[in-house]
Point group: D2
Chain length 348, copies 4
Amino acid sequence: MILFHNDYSEGCHEKVLTALVKTNMEQTPGYSEDNYCAQAAEKIRKCCGREDLAVHFLVGGTQANLTVIAAGLRPHQGVLGADSAHVNVHETGAIEATGHKVLWLPSVNGKIEAKQVSDYMAAHWADPSFEHTVQPGMVYISSPTEWGTLYSRPELEELSRVCRENGLYLFLDGARMGYGLMAQDNDVTLADLANLCDVFYIGGTKVGALFGEAVVISNPALAKDFRYVMKQRGGMLAKGRLLGVQFDALFEDDLYFKVSAHADAMAEKLRDTFSRLGYSFFMPPQTNQLFPILPAKVREYLGQTYTFIEMDQIDADNRVCRFCTSWATKEENVDALCRDLEIITERS
Amino acid sequence: MILFHNDYSEGCHEKVLTALVKTNMEQTPGYSEDNYCAQAAEKIRKCCGREDLAVHFLVGGTQANLTVIAAGLRPHQGVLGADSAHVNVHETGAIEATGHKVLWLPSVNGKIEAKQVSDYMAAHWADPSFEHTVQPGMVYISSPTEWGTLYSRPELEELSRVCRENGLYLFLDGARMGYGLMAQDNDVTLADLANLCDVFYIGGTKVGALFGEAVVISNPALAKDFRYVMKQRGGMLAKGRLLGVQFDALFEDDLYFKVSAHADAMAEKLRDTFSRLGYSFFMPPQTNQLFPILPAKVREYLGQTYTFIEMDQIDADNRVCRFCTSWATKEENVDALCRDLEIITERS
Amino acid sequence: MILFHNDYSEGCHEKVLTALVKTNMEQTPGYSEDNYCAQAAEKIRKCCGREDLAVHFLVGGTQANLTVIAAGLRPHQGVLGADSAHVNVHETGAIEATGHKVLWLPSVNGKIEAKQVSDYMAAHWADPSFEHTVQPGMVYISSPTEWGTLYSRPELEELSRVCRENGLYLFLDGARMGYGLMAQDNDVTLADLANLCDVFYIGGTKVGALFGEAVVISNPALAKDFRYVMKQRGGMLAKGRLLGVQFDALFEDDLYFKVSAHADAMAEKLRDTFSRLGYSFFMPPQTNQLFPILPAKVREYLGQTYTFIEMDQIDADNRVCRFCTSWATKEENVDALCRDLEIITERS
Amino acid sequence: MILFHNDYSEGCHEKVLTALVKTNMEQTPGYSEDNYCAQAAEKIRKCCGREDLAVHFLVGGTQANLTVIAAGLRPHQGVLGADSAHVNVHETGAIEATGHKVLWLPSVNGKIEAKQVSDYMAAHWADPSFEHTVQPGMVYISSPTEWGTLYSRPELEELSRVCRENGLYLFLDGARMGYGLMAQDNDVTLADLANLCDVFYIGGTKVGALFGEAVVISNPALAKDFRYVMKQRGGMLAKGRLLGVQFDALFEDDLYFKVSAHADAMAEKLRDTFSRLGYSFFMPPQTNQLFPILPAKVREYLGQTYTFIEMDQIDADNRVCRFCTSWATKEENVDALCRDLEIITERS
């Protein structure tokens, strides 16, 4: 079988692996207090165009989400996000386990709008029983979203403005950051994110690393004592240099951006084929995750050779499917998939 | 102003007060290990027709909810309830602060159905990523609900059956228990609740006591070590006998039921007047909380003399309002309100 | 039996009871937003000599402790206290249940010293692995302590200075506040406490009220949003006016101080008798709790008529015992106890 | 500098690295649902001589500790351990952050005895206020301990018996498991541990892996739903196969035991040199961590070439030091260290 059902089926990019192999027997201090972490953080700060950013490395996304949110909220506060937010639906209540409610807003294409946030805050303060309800303390968004869509710069600017006006942290989950930054539709840079968000992370697990997320904090109040919280939540890796070495390699010669561009190119090829053959998408196909709507025959035929996720039923025949490309996707596999798609489409 | 906006504006029924006064200078052991608590618990067990029930006294509703839910769930579990459930919307995230997510279901008239629960469980187990989502461990319902409506015995039987089939605790919040038990539509007894639920509580705060809720636990697994959890969550009252004395008085000569019946009779009088005058209700008027839909003129006129809560706007002119009666409601006040309602209705 | 084993065996002072009875059928807003709470808070602010204090009413001590500590700490912080601190030993891990470690220091006479705190902080920052340990964020002391002893003003001034230098909140648990303020040895006023502590509470449960603690917050950072946290932890009493009415009565005509002085006078009488008859004390007898060391014969004899707590064995014959007086202690009972003590002492 | 200050300064054993490299571009399912994890678990079950064990892979020690403890305890329960336990002192309150108190016992050589546990439990139940204190629910030990010492089989048997008699889970932290199993003094096997403990883990991070701990659960009550808790606490690695591949390699051809034996042999060589030259040890030198007591001159001289940790001052001149060997320690470095030790000793 050829796997298209997610973007973390392989290990890591060969240059990352080479770096790990090469440094394997070096002796370094533990807990990310080594030079590789320092160097990787420095490269990330450069990419973000700011020297005052705190950069911390965590192993995975749920860990990053729960650590950032726990670090940022007072006990009576909750985090506002989309109904489809990863923290709301796919982390086994990790946020609630830190004591905080996830407050959700209905989303369109996996995104929420600044106005929803300001309306929510206005309604909170207008409620005579506001002290009987959870006070929002942070807004959580992902970009690319769980549905593969992107926030535009104007959207982020509005969210950022509303958050600042309302005393809310703005936290952007960038588990698939690279695939967003290199997407055709994208108009956002890392420097924009550093200026617009209080905290965001640059996903490695899904973008060329074995594992790892680089948390970038621009708000000093949130940065204070962050390493304590990392340790407390089990996120302080003993051999932290493994994260430093990987991100150091990923941010050398724009590797992170190049591997992301590859995944996006593969997704675009696939997207164009789906479109050309007349299939529609459940969500705008902007990054490495595509959600075409496919009839049973097509699903059955493709399912013999390729893995993908079958999601909601649209009607008797059609169902939303998820196909992912990644840094590791081989063009020959995408070509084969496109060919098979043509074959079964013609037959139907 | 005459207060109809809630059912906890006064202190307690005079017989409860008399009991508190009479026992005031008695010396008793602390922490509900006194005879009054024992006696009150015994009376409640009698009313429930079972000798094997654990009965514990807590000061308030949010405290009871968070203590029961924390005691019953394992860390990865959540509690299923209606979207309108008090634990979901009006407890400042008290449940999440114990580490557990409130999982909600859309409600009709403030109620959820057994089928919603069994469907939710089926979907949970059918999800290949079920371990990435919160596992339901308990169902929370309130009866009377936050909207003043009632679960019928068949509805509770179905819920109970589905909960047992799915390994879920069934927890009934009875903050307004008495007003449910004495309602015209009611077909449920305390004995039914003891048999159908794993745990429920008999509200005192809103039904004749100064404060206090009697938690009744029929499931031994949940009863085990419950007092530890009470103490840990700040719910073990030093002078616990205050709770015992009050419930002892409330369950003497059916006082609890009589004062509840009074509140229901007052609500029925008011309900009949609203109906007769052509006003409709946003929710079926079954207990001591009424939610008539009233035009602006009526609201303004009544608002000069009476307090009530103005809720959602239905259309340009009409708005849902909440009126509560209670054990303390004076019939003369209800009569006055009915008269004023007639006056303003005729005028309009 | 005549009870001397604790100071919460009775209900409340008659003037408090009278106030509750008198106001019983008044209609007031809920959740401490009534005039009685406002009035009581105002009286307490006057006693503290500061208009800028936030005053909140909670039902009990464990609830007050866990609410204040949860409100004040960031997740990686803990609270420093004496090994014998109530929060460390007698609250079923209530503080840990809010996510925070209780860090304890060895105590002398139930007290810790400023130098212990500054040494602890110095050691924390000197530890190269400090991020792997809990960061103190608050100091918790009780005065009177769990052992009935008192902090002097110079001791509190030193603690306050050290806390401010180290960015720590200073929190004083005053569950038995009145018995401290009126003790012969005392040199501290409520105004001193308001200036030296960030937060403290004035205990009502053990000092004349049915229940209730008045939390006084002088640090605005801690005061912010405190009512949300109260609600979340189950500490927002629906009929909050019950707390207001009681504290209003206690702070009318110095009632709180008078009833406290009575308890202290009773304790002094008892203390003098123990001393005169040659018994020593395990702890300096400063307030309403006495810890004489008594031989078996004396314990047996007294145990026929009076309750008291038998604690640690000192040697084969002698054991530490706890006797408490309170606002409710009758002088005739103290006299009887003193007489019986003389009788058995002479006999031995 | 040559690093002896800890046992996680390098990456991983070359065979582990080779396995990672070799499998790097394979496509596997995520979240440890791949064949490598299955295979590694199977090998571990074989080593433990039991087919009914649940084996789960986590990234690090603090994560393993907090996940196991959170999964096993009810809210009012705490975990009993040594004062020197890692969970008590070096995890930034990770256990308290899950809501549970760490209850500690004084230790000798980093170990606690069965009798301490049974005495603690007897005292708990004998306390009339037991519900006001934290109920032990689990015993946590580490072997090798934080002080490099070992529990003997009779000691573990006694602990296991006492735990079972008292309804306590027995949890053994084996972060340095291999160095214990291959130590000269050791009389315990993995099979013993599987039978005596309810749960333990086999440390990889410090014993040849890049990272990873294999949690082995023999008690079905604790095994139930363990993966949910892993996910909730951020411990479910997306590319879980990385853990499987590593443990699969470590349990191939006894690699785990061989690399451990090497570290122990290096420690023994060092230990014998210290002893021969007349230095005493602060703790019995049983595994890969040695705690010799060294005078200032020796520390200064060695400190020019080697890293080690300087700990408590014993007297004006002498201080406890920590030296670690590991799977990666080169014999030539140990020899050099021994030579330098002789040189400085002779000079002094």
